[in-house]
């Protein structure tokens, strides 16, 4: 049975080749080694009526200039909390950043005052939300929603802000921008609204763009267009992107690196090809196996059984143990250290231990 799963993962990887390579040919980016953002050992909890939910339990990763890092995982794994923490949008209370740092331009964002954060929000770091139908204020004109951030941060005249807004709408591909400025959100389609949301996020020319499930609420054809837009914008502006998603298809199209999160921890991180071709964590393999694909027979689709652990009382050891086909006694008891496989590829799993390799041969 274990053998079978490995085989399956391999078969899947081969089938994926085509998709990944096609993308690679089109926009081969040179990712610099300059760090834009460093997240260190982030712990975030939420107080609820039922007790304290430990949403993030030590999340660390780095983001380089001009790259797209995808954070993937099941719902509730902490990917959106990570995004909101970086953005400074965790409501405190009930949320609390218990530990860790978010380093951006030499500043620890978790230590900034609200006023200090506002100087960064929307200017240096912007965010795109999941549902464009609800992300725009229904009672304000598009023009105002576009320019208000720009005018708050840059103290420019209305006319200048308007020019900038028109420029942004052109960038995201909205025809007749001058007329569109006076319209309200309900006069736009879902795809158009997401383009506007992107324009709003980019108007202050941020260095970092956090996109929280930016295509989940859209039709498949529109999804492709929006992803294409992300690639274009990154080429033009060199913005770094953190992409939160559970959709591996989206990841395959635009990510450079991938971080896999599970139960409030990053359990594997690596370059896109490393994660797709040589996934190490059983959970990562499970995720890849659970994606429906046209070129696989139906019985080869493998959903991961069970549900993630309760984050009110998270397990001491590896949180995936209960669902893991390779679970060992050690997994329950001790959380595995990080194993660095290549420069960028790292995984937290006891299977990397020499002694485990003796067990599973």
């Amino acid at each position: 049975m274990n053998e079978h799963q490995f085989d399956n993962a391999n078969a899947l990887v081969c089938n994926r080749n085509e998709d990944l390579d096609r993308q690679k040919g089109k926009n081969r980016k040179t990712v610099s080694t300059e760090k834009v953002l460093t997240v260190e050992e982030l712990h975030v909890s939420f107080k609820t009526f039922g007790g304290e939910v430990q949403a993030l339990r030590g999340v660390s990763f780095e983001l380089y200039k001009g790259e797209t890092l995808a954070i993937v995982g099941e719902s509730g794994c902490g990917k959106s909390v990570t995004a909101n923490t970086i953005m400074g949008l965790i409501p405190q209370p009930p949320g609390r950043i218990k530990n860790g740092k978010v380093l951006f331009k030499g500043k620890d964002l978790t230590k900034l005052s609200k006023a200090g954060l506002r100087k960064i929000q929307g200017v240096d770091i912007s965010m795109i939300f999941q549902d464009p139908m609800t992300a725009l204020n229904p009672t304000l004109q598009i023009g105002e929603q576009l320019t208000e951030g720009y005018r708050t941060h840059h103290k420019v005249s209305k006319a200048n802000a308007r020019e900038k807004a028109i420029e942004m709408l052109e960038l995201v591909g909205i025809p007749n921008p001058e007329e569109r400025l006076k319209q309200y959100p309900h006069q736009f389609s879902g795809g158009m609204r997401q383009r506007i949301v992107i324009a709003i996020a980019l108007i202050c020319e941020p260095e970092l763009l956090i996109a929280d499930e930016p295509t989940t609420a859209l039709d498949v054809t529109i999804q492709a267009q929006i992803l294409e837009l992300f690639n274009e914008i990154q080429e033009k502006t060199g913005v770094s992107i953190i992409l939160i998603t559970h959709d591996l298809g989206v990841v395959a199209k635009i990510a450079d690196r991938i971080a896999v999160m599970y139960a409030g921890k990053v359990i594997e991180i690596g370059e896109k090809r490393e994660i797709f071709y040589t996934p190490q964590h059983p959970y990562t393999k499970g995720l890849l196996n659970s994606v429906p694909r046209l070129d696989l027979k139906e019985e080869e689709l493998q959903p991961i059984e069970g549900t993630p652990p309760d984050l009110f009382a998270p397990p001491v050891g590896c949180p995936f143990t209960a669902r893991c086909p390779f679970a060992m006694d050690v997994c329950d008891r001790v959380y595995p250290e990080t194993t660095h496989l290549t420069k960028n590829h790292a995984v937290n799993c006891w299977l990397q231990d020499e002694r485990a390799k003796l067990v599973f041969t």
Binding site: R118, Q121, E148, H153
Partner: protein, 311 residues
């Protein structure tokens, strides 16, 4: 928008017509009304009534003339006071009642919205609990009870404020307080509830992510949306306040239209009851119409018509 306004306008006309018709035929059916054969009144009044109601004509003709006089804002004579008409009473009383009503609604909206907004922003905090305790108590104490309690405590026991009449701003405090507490409580609850809902919306998160000032986030993004439900209840609230002026004017001896109306009820001055009811109804229905139009302008999503059954 134009179609929407026209549609609302015809609904307004229909409602006023129904009230006018209802009053006419109800009054026709009771003894002691101007239509009763066996009246014992003085000759001036008799002449007034015959002239206004066309008592020598058949009912159908009377009805048509009655509607006609209503359209021309002529609400008929008094049956008890020979030299008074509903119009003369209105001319004297309504400005005062209107003033009381408007001050009340102003106080209620300002304090209710402020209270509700702060309660929502400090959700489950001290201000929230205080505001909501006040609100549920405010809704539960009838205005006439509050008015009498205020007179007894503030005016009689403590002698802080004058107990009656409408002669100076100082005199206006207690009546306004008595009348505005209920509406304030209702607006505060509604604002809080709708504010809490708005605060969880994605566009609020987006506004915060833009790095806007808290003031702009609350006022421009949250309040504007949160106040929509408040606008929709303004019509019915105004009706409540206006009927509330009846008792408040009676209690505080304020010489407004409400006082005359209550008097006319007590001495069964039917033409005055009839005329004031129609006038007040027309006024309120017109206010409802205005509120609908304001709402249409505030919410850009309303284009031509609202869906049936929308509240």
């Amino acid at each position: 928008m134009a179609v929407y306004i026209v549609k609302r306008f015809f609904m307004m006309i229909a409602t006023i017509l129904i009230i006018a018709t209802l009053t006419f035929f109800l009054m026709h059916s009771i003894p002691g009304s101007p239509f009763d054969e066996e009246r014992t009144t003085n000759p001036t009044i008799q002449a007034n009534l015959e002239k206004y109601y066309k008592l020598d004509q058949p009912v159908a003709v009377q009805y048509v003339y009655y509607l006609k006089s209503i359209v021309t804002f002529d609400f008929g004579p008094s049956i008890k006071k020979p030299n008074e008409t509903v119009n003369s009473l209105l001319a004297r009383g309504f400005p005062i009642s209107f003033e009381l009503g408007m001050i009340t609604i102003l106080v209620a909206v300002i304090s209710g919205v402020t209270l509700g907004t702060f309660a929502a922003l400090r959700h489950n905090g001290f201000i929230d609990y205080m505001a909501m305790t006040f609100a549920v108590v405010g809704i539960s104490v009838p205005n006439f009870v509050l008015a009498t309690l205020l007179i007894q405590q503030v005016a009689v026991t403590w002698q802080l404020l004058p107990p009656a009449t409408w002669s100076s701003p100082l005199h206006m405090i207690l009546p306004t307080l008595a009348l505005a507490t209920g509406p304030t409580a209702i607006i505060a609850r509604l604002t809080r509830a709708s504010m809490l809902e708005v605060l969880t919306q994605d566009y609020m998160k987006m506004a915060r992510a833009k790095g806007l000032t808290p003031f702009r986030i609350v006022v421009r993004h949250a309040l504007r949306n949160a106040l929509m439900p408040v606008v929709t209840i303004m019509g019915t609230m105004l009706a409540g306040i206006l009927t509330g002026t009846f008792v408040i004017e009676k209690i505080f001896a304020i010489p407004g239209m409400g006082k005359y109306f209550v008097e006319s009820i007590n001495n069964r001055d039917y033409p005055v009851i009839m005329g004031s009811t129609v006038f007040y109804s027309a006024f309120l229905v017109f206010m409802l119409f205005l509120v609908d139009i304001v709402y249409g302008f505030l919410d850009p999503r309303i284009k031509l018509h609202r869906k049936d059954g929308d509240v």
